[in-house]
Symmetry: C2
Subunit: 369 residues, 2 copies
């Protein structure tokens, strides 16, 4: 019987871990592994924590999850509720079924599963059918330069090598295959300052951005089929800023755009798509580019993982670090508790039944149940 | 022979006086008046400086100017140049004809004229044909609550009472009659946060602002005739801000709009005009409202000032504190050195010939030349 995964998730939510502020939660993870999974090699690199079995198996499974969350939105505190929210009457309520709070879905539920899996690999090491690496890493929610996996691949590639990588991003316990690419650009619009009572002497940079904003707001993104999976693309203005003073025609405005694109083409093509919408921009600078990853469903280990557990498969719409593993030649997929559609929303939550289900699939795959 | 007005203006530009940071320039003004115009009553209220003759004349002229400037735009340092910029060849250049720098036009040139006028009223007090008040006041370039004249009218109305008020805002030595009203509102657009890979789960607040922005950018403002003068209206987005993180659909965006309207209707009407363009706004809040002032050309003192000096008259497009004097029953007009169309631009400047001309008109009107 594994420990109470919902309670462990609540403990993890109660430790704030905004990107670049993961020290407290890394301390918690490291201490818990030292206490409950001492036979695993545990390595800390910055605030990244890696724990590995070394039982000499031919194959190694890596299970990874990021420690950080997006900024809080009045949801800092974990709150456990019955499932009355899901259409059942009071008579059907089971106390403690759902857990709300920042990171419940993305992805402290997954971290709880990973910790518990490492403890089982320690306690039942004789039953392992492959070696296990768990990787808790920093700064997945912000720009690429800070990403803990990027650092580990660059500086300690042996710690993150494996035959299959499973990222515990929220998928609702589906296999979400591959991932869409993500491209963030900043467009600058330039004008000429003037007194706002005589705007014809200047050129309003915010007004100059109106066509680009309208183009993006009106853009109907496509759905693209790859390996039989339908990837639904998107484009969003995620930041807009401009202005000098209430009586000054502004000479500069900056618009940040995030584009998600199917694993059917490269980032250069995505950039060309976005640039075509940015009518009137003075410059377009790439802030972050993360390539898409193909679904890779024909890979033998992925096929075994899906087939043995009879898991449902769908495309991953958000970018995840599966693309990083794929680009380093390691087959990878997303599989974790939590509804991906509520990630980054104030009301994100995770359900006990999904935590238990994800744990059972992974524990069975490595042989400990 | 008055002192070198261009050199005095340069001295005033060299003292930074961003709104709410006018202490240094108020100290300079107060010390100079104490030294050079000691017979005037000089009163300091905060960083406002008022100096008054008390010769018992039936009529009193008030000349006012604000001490503050908008933020610098790489033009902090005063720079005197010849007039080659104005199409003359090198052989025609006269060294020291033009002065560039923050506030040259708006309105440190006017302050130099006021200081010099006060000195003449001291030195030649026997020749005065009316009493003189000079008012150097703070925070004209920012929101109404900070405006020095507002404070003086509220707390020391006797210090600012007069039979005619002349504001030395830049008018190119024209009489600029009345002034347009100014209305600043903040429109908020509200959405629902979501992961940017699944924007259909949320509602992008920046996208929601695109129609309002397009409406304003496309709006062709009217020209309105009052007392035979043509007031050219305008509407500008002066600030726009929204965004949470590069991978989050933003749930809030704020747009600030400045509307300038002819002295033909009130601020409620102006607000209705603006609100009609703000399609999709969740709320519209008035940040600042300054009523328009009618031209008042039939007033006897204004007619005398214009007629005696044979001055050219045009409408004032920017809001100025003439509206405040008018609303307190004091006839008022704008008359000062500097081109109003370059106020608040990086390249603002003032010419020696205009400083001298404005000084001569005012000195003649009070009787000291």
């Amino acid at each position: 019987m594994p420990p109470d995964l919902l309670a462990l998730t609540a403990d993890l939510i109660a430790i704030p871990s905004l990107s670049l502020k993961e020290t407290a939660i890394a301390d918690f993870v490291e201490a818990r592994l030292a206490e409950r999974a001492p036979s695993l090699d545990c390595i800390r690199v910055g605030d990244n924590v890696i724990a590995r079995t070394n039982s000499g198996h031919e194959r190694r499974l890596l299970v990874g999850g990021h420690l950080d969350t997006v900024p809080a939105d009045q949801n800092e505190n974990p709150r456990i509720e019955g499932d009355s929210l899901f259409g059942l009457g009071a008579a059907d309520m089971i106390e403690g079924d759902s857990l709300f709070g920042l990171g419940a879905a993305d992805m402290k539920g997954g971290l709880a599963v990973m910790l518990t899996l490492a403890e089982a690999a320690h306690a039942l090491s004789a039953r392992l059918r492959l070696d296990l690496t768990v990787v808790f890493y920093v700064a997945e929610e912000i720009t690429e330069e800070h990403n803990g996996l990027r650092v580990l691949f660059a500086e300690h590639p042996n710690l993150v090598s494996a035959d299959l990588a499973i990222l515990m991003e929220p998928t609702g316990a589906w296999v979400e295959a591959g991932c869409q690419g993500s491209l963030t650009v900043e467009a600058t619009f330039t004008g000429v300052r003037a007194h706002s009572a005589r705007p014809w002497m200047g050129d309003n940079a915010i007004h100059s951005a109106s066509k680009a904003l309208a183009n993006i707001a009106a853009h109907n993104s496509d759905s693209v089929i790859v390996d039989g999976l339908e990837y639904r693309e998107s484009i969003q203005v995620v930041h807009f800023e401009g202005g000098v003073a209430n009586n000054v025609v502004p000479d500069s405005a900056r618009m940040r755009i995030n584009r998600r694109f199917a694993p059917a083409y490269d980032t250069e093509t995505a950039l060309a798509q976005v640039s075509a919408l940015l009518e009137g921009a003075t410059s377009v600078v790439v802030i972050n580019e993360s390539p898409a990853a193909p679904p890779n469903l024909m890979n033998p280990l992925i096929a075994e993982f899906i087939g043995t557990n009879d898991l449902a498969v769908r495309p991953k719409l958000g970018w995840t670090d599966v693309a990083r593993f794929t680009s380093h030649g390691i087959p990878a997929l997303n599989f974790g508790p939590g509804n991906p559609e509520i990630a980054h929303t104030r009301g994100e939550f995770v359900e006990r039944v999904e935590l238990d289900a994800c744990y059972a699939v992974l524990a069975r795959f490595i042989g400990v149940i």
